[in-house]
Amino acid sequence: MAPIIQTRDLKKQYNPPDGPLAVRDVDLVIETGEVYSLLGPNGAGKTTTISMLSGLLQPSGGEAIIAGYNIATDPIKAKQVIGVIPQEIALYPRLTGRQNLRFFGQLYGLSGRALESAIDEVLEFIDLRDRADEKVEKYSGGMKRRVNIGVGLLHRPRIVFMDEPTVGIDPQSRRRILDAVLELKQRYGMTVLYTTHYMEEAQELSDRVGIIDHGVIIAEGTTGQLIQMIGELDQIILRVDNQQVPPAMLEQFGNVEGVTSVNQQDGELTVRARRGRKALPDLITIANNAGVHISSVRVQEPDLEAVFLHLTGRALRE
């Protein structure tokens, strides 16, 4: 089966000929039912990419095929199968949540009973039934975000583009949104293209992650593949405070399988190992035998943050 989203050499230059190249030669291949995350810092080109894929922006070059439709030549058909949840809260503040849903539902071609039942279903999904008839301007940030999501789902799209839907909201609302994304995939079989600069979100939600920086996808794959790719090791941090640590004990640490280095600094022992959790019991036994009391243990596995750091030399969030 052909991929549901496929791009070739997608480019965007704002204000040509001198404007910035926001996206360069992006080739995306996303299969039906996948959750694919574009992970990148501010200004990486995430919104620009989504805007081109959804037919809002004319690409400066290349092409995008969405569900078999070329977005440049067949925009109306393509838009019918895409639901976009923009980064901005794109709602009318003086209209109620329900009126916003109804208005955009009409623009998606829904009407009558089909429209009303779609609205009810969406309100259920975003858990906003009881406040649906209040004006959006009275909503909390989290509620606005949820309506913002709801508008993009009204017409039951096959593909959902979500552009940083969790920016600036409380942890509880954020949790709900992440659960909703998983539900879209699992219950409705939707394909989700998700952008974020939170690596935990990408890591939790995605089947695959594309890391984007300066308009270029610099790495792509499952979280595991990406981490493996950079060959980064686990770190085990043992807190010993200001006890005397016998040199013999450190030597024994070095002999544990998988361990490559041991460092002592500021009352902490940092042990680098290929598979940290496996080495941990041995390390604790050795310390006990040496009479050194360990007050806390932390294992840091490499994450997408580390991958990004490794690839760019910069942190994902500054």
Partner: protein, 452 residues
């Protein structure tokens, strides 16, 4: 189509549920015109209250009679001072009327029509000839008695808004005509004697107006002639005219205020494109499978419909204010409904075009608001919303004609003074042209700037 309707509905739902907006759209123009109505209410009443210097015109087309008689000239001689610059203060007719000779009938009619003259008298070419015996018949001899040969018609054009002034003129003309018919040319002096008393006694003027003094004049005539045989008939023609002496403050100010504030509504309405761009709702609309033309068209049509709704609501509300302040004689919008509707459709179209253009030059909604406040205020000033454009010097008279305020306001004035659709066609045409030109400029400009 359904999508267009959805956008149109949304536009106006937002517009008319906004309380601040409603204050500017309805309350402010209403209160302003009510204040003007009250401020000028001392001068109110659609009638000429002055009995002095009633402006009248005389068109003497009389070609003379067989024996060199020029009876038509009697009217001019009685009414028009020999030196118009210094009228004879002792001649009561000269104090009562400001009469002038006019060379042709069309011009006289136009002057009455424009309100410059209260009335005009037209003396026909055959006036003298009809009233003097035919010398040929006389020369041929015969037994027949010498009689007047026929009838003749004097025509009086009348501005229907004028009441007292008109009646006085008609009675004076009648008196002179009766005198001529009776062969008593000197009767003019008698009429003068009677009229002399008028300026000093307004009550007398009103009696004269109501016709109760008519017998006096008729009496003069009767004394000298056989009434049944009076060969001079007076035919009166009402000119559907505007008049300046009829000052109706609400009719003068209300349409202008309605247009002025409607201009803001449609400009702010057009500028919501910028707000929607900032809120990202414009982009969101563009993300739906809806053609771009429907989105922009729906928004602009929504703005147009909003302006129309505002105008119609204001028309009704201002009429009610007029009814309360000035009574049932107030007629702000005229009585030709199709004409009022057509003029309003055109005025709002022109304003919407201007509004789009203003908004298209702004970067943000706030900028559009500031630009609108400036441009629309200047246009309102130039277009005669706050003072009559006739007070502008001649070389600036082209200025008002560049504004929809002028063409719209002028159109409503024509209609309120009894004009019909035909009379405001030039206004409608000017407004439509303005609408189309600005619409094209504005849309071109928007299209260039709006990347959706």
């Amino acid at each position: 189509m359904r999508k267009l309707w959805a956008i149109l509905w949304k536009e106006n739902y937002e517009r008319f549920t906004d309380r601040t907006g409603a204050i500017y759209m309805f309350l402010v123009p209403l209160v302003m015109s009510a204040i003007m109505g009250l401020a000028f209410s001392g001068m109110t009443g659609p009638q000429d209250v002055t009995v002095l210097d009633i402006p009248v015109g005389i068109v003497n087309l009389d070609e003379g009679g067989s024996q060199g008689t020029a009876l038509g000239a009697i009217f001019s001689e009685a009414l028009i001072p020999s030196d118009p610059a210094s009228p004879d203060a002792d001649n009561p007719l000269h104090r009562l009327f400001k009469a002038r000779a006019i060379s042709n009938e069309a011009e006289a009619r136009a002057l009455v029509d424009s309100g410059e003259l209260t009335a005009a008298l037209i003396i026909p070419p055959d006036f003298s000839a009809s009233l003097t015996p035919d010398p040929a018949a006389f020369a041929a001899g015969g037994d027949e008695p010498l009689t007047l040969v026929g009838h003749t018609n004097l025509t009086l054009y009348r501005n229907p808004r004028s009441t007292v002034g008109w009646t006085i003129f008609r009675d004076v003309v009648q008196g002179i005509a009766d005198g001529i018919a009776a062969g008593n040319i000197a009767v003019g002096a008698t009429v003068s004697g009677l009229v002399e008393a008028i300026p000093a006694h307004p009550l007398l003027a009103l009696q004269l107006a109501s016709g109760s003094l008519n017998e006096t004049f008729t009496g003069i005539a009767q004394a000298a002639s056989q009434p049944d045989a009076n060969p001079i008939r007076i035919r009166q023609v009402d000119v559907a005219g505007r008049t300046q002496d009829a000052f109706d403050p609400l009719a003068t100010f209300s349409p202008g205020f309605a247009i002025f504030f409607m201009g803001f509504t449609v400009t702010v309405g057009s500028a919501t494109i910028l707000r929607e761009q900032r809120l990202w709702t414009l982009q969101r609309m563009a993300l739906t499978p809806t053609p771009r033309g429907i989105i922009l068209g729906g928004k602009l049509l929504g703005t147009y419909v909003g302006g129309l709704l505002q105008m119609f609501v204001l028309m009704i509300a201002m009429s009610l204010v007029g009814l309360i302040l000035q009574g049932p004689s107030t007629n702000i919008w005229g009585s030709d409904l199709p004409a009022v509707v057509a003029l309003t459709l055109a005025a709002v179209a022109a304003a919407t075009g201007v509004g789009i253009t203003i908004a298209s030059f702004a970067r943000t909604e706030e900028q559009a608001g500031n630009l609108a406040a400036f441009v629309l205020f200047v246009m309102g000033l130039a277009g005669g919303i706050f003072f009559p454009t006739m007070q502008m010097p001649d070389f600036l008279q082209f200025l008002p004609r560049l504004t929809f305020h002028f063409w719209g306001g002028n159109g409503y004035t024509i209609l309120s003074q009894g004009g019909a659709l035909g009379d405001v066609l030039p206004n409608i045409a000017a407004l439509l042209i303005m609408g189309v030109v600005f619409f094209v400029v504005g849309l071109y400009q928007f299209n260039r700037r709006l990347d959706i």
